[in-house]
Amino acid sequence: MASATDTALVSEDTTETEAVAAGAVGLAAVLFALSLASVFELVTITDPVAGVPMVALLGGLLVVLGFAVVTFGVGSRLGYVATDPRPTAGLLASGTFGLIWFVVGGLVASQTLGLGTAGWVVASLVTGGAAFAVSAAPREDIGSTLPAGALAVFAGVVFLTGVIGPSWVWDLGWEQQASFNAEFTIPVLTAFCSLLVGWAAAKAYGGFGARGRHIGAYVLVYLNAISIIALLFLLVAFTVLKGLPGLFKGLALGAGAGPEVTLVGVTFSLPVSWPFVMNGVALLNDVNGVLPAIVGTIWLVVGAVLFAVPLGIGAAVFITEYADRGRFTQVVEIATNGLWSTPSIVFGLFGLAFLVPRLGNRKSLLAGMLTLGFMLLPLVVITSRESMLAVPDEYRDASAALGVTKWQTVRSIVLPAALPGIVTGIILGVGRIAGETAPILLTMSGSVAPPGSQTVDVLGGFQLQSAPPFVTNPELMQATSALPYQLYSLITAGVGESSNISAIDEFRWATALILLVVVLGFYAVGIATRYYFRSKLQHD
């Protein structure tokens, strides 16, 4: 007869041991968050938190957690805690622990004890082998807690005793003078150990066995997901915080505050003056701005989309609906996939060598649009094809059975059903091309920071004439700036220092922020479009 704890269908109230294990998992999560916070220097490791320096807090928590986990495992092995462990922790866990302890042993032997190559290899093999054996040989409750707990205690002791203290620096001794400092190393190690210990504690909470493994994996995946989201959030927040001061410099609200504009023959003053997005760069400006680059970026993307989307959808319709599936479509598919992975600088070179000489022999907005259009084309083909293939054949059959021709079926059934997918592809592609620097650099860049008067006015630039080509647009032929290119030049090439931009750092970050906003704006438009088309296909 199995014991009641093994077979009970409905578990009783939370036991004390479960509560302790759950507490350990929670503590590991807190520790993970704390270490992430110090990685991003929200708290430095010498800052006191709750009365103790951060580094001591991290070390102390690691020791406590390590002991808790080991105690739990040993308690389970000796029968004080009712669990349901498997005979072994498994090859994956054992191998991972072996590898980790191999590295630990080697580093301690070579860096701390100063042994030679033979010494650290032996030490590595001994510690790694021991960890593997401890993990693989005994029952799961020992095997998955002991190596993890021991690692946490070890790391904690190293931090607490100051072997790796706040002023610790590991100079690799390379020519390039590479070194690791404690500010980064301690939090990263802590995060790593807390993940391991959290996993072990979660397994303990689940009573090991199948349920324990499930909960352990859940905790790992969950913490990872959270940290990735946090990373993305930090990335955006970082840019926003750095960019905001420059962005809103000189912002003024109120009637008549802004510059005069003429719309449909009526001239009036805008109720807002926002120098950074309304000015270019000029000597007399109080606050310099990036208007020409914003307008340039927007026109670039609009032009590329207008060029690539009809062509791409047309090609996709042909290879999906008309061409026989066979070698030809395979080749086209491979070629489009290859084109999409082609580095943008290659497209830029093509634009420079092929388009620029043929389009008035000068870098121009039009050349940039076409180059980015070529880049966008393969993705439009790929995603359009995918989403058309996903349209059920039943629709095509039903339409054919009604005596409707193929082209009308494609136009009225297949394309509408595929549109949300196509739009998704365009969104992804626009996100990429809007931030491209290299092709712009080669095909359309004029001065880095043009004055506001050089903002392209594509709509106003069309001119009629009596001789061919009848309609011309000098604005399209004008070299202009775009946000990514401007950003690149200001930061990397250091152009800003010699120009008349004051507070250049603020200007750079604000430019980066504006680029982010413009790209997100395109995303928003795309997502709204997709939502619109999708809602037409679905019932609510």
């Binding site: 059975a401 009604l402 005596g403 409707v404 009225s412 296909l537 679905q538 019932h539």
Partner: protein, 316 residues
Amino acid sequence: MSETRQTTDDAQATTDSELAGGASPGTDQPLEVTSGETRERTREEWVEHEFEGEAKLSVSDLDVYYGDDHALKSVSMEIPENSVTALIGPSGCGKSTFLRCLNRMNDRIKAASIDGSVRLEGEEIYQDGVNLVELRKRVGMVFQSPNPFPKSIADNISYGPRKHGDLDTGLLANLLGRSDDDAVDELVERSLRQAALWDEVNDRLDDNALGLSGGQQQRLCIARALATDPEVLLMDEPASALDPIATSKIEDLVHDLAEEYTVVIVTHNMQQAARISDQTAVFLTGGELVEYGDTDQVFEDPQSQRVEDYISGKFG
């Protein structure tokens, strides 16, 4: 005698006397035969069906191949006007293939090659110069699983006529004052009434058709097929994905439709075939038409032993 049959391994070798007397299924199961099926020679007179009036569709010596697979073997039958013809038989016997030949839907399958003759009111549909649009307008089709377009109910109905150019509701037509909006409304109502769906959906014609239940969707598909004003309606197991209530609605509908249309319906459900059809064609394994005749005769007094076995549920 059953002993003889068990040792026979050539269908053509089975003699008439065995066919007349043997009822026990063979235990020796040759290739291409559904488990439990006996072997016998099919006879010409089993597939001769006498009826009054004109033949709407006449099929002669129809062979269909999917690559190397001979899916239909020399099928000949005449389908009378304004009646319900049921095609029954086990899976893979070619009854759906036969149905799809009647409006040339098999043209859409690249591997299929078709040999033989199908005449719609005396006109050969397998010849050069056949207008597929016109053919499929006259021979409509309803599929096994309901497949309404992801559009509104009204748009589903008017889709065929609009795409044929019979009705114009586009922006340009509206601007020019030539819009057929009223005609469309009338068409939608007439088709939905014919398909016995009008009362259930008349207050939500602009809703997406995918919001309807399965049975309603299938009746919508029937209404959509009726909207192009066909003469023949082909139905490929139209009720197989539906619950009993929806099925009985479709059956009633098929019965009513037979007054105006020639209905050819494939079904797996033999009770259904017996209930709704005027004549029944039984296809058996290997793509052969084994027996064709008056439904009552086929179900009560089948001439073929294999058909009797199939109908009484001994195999298939």
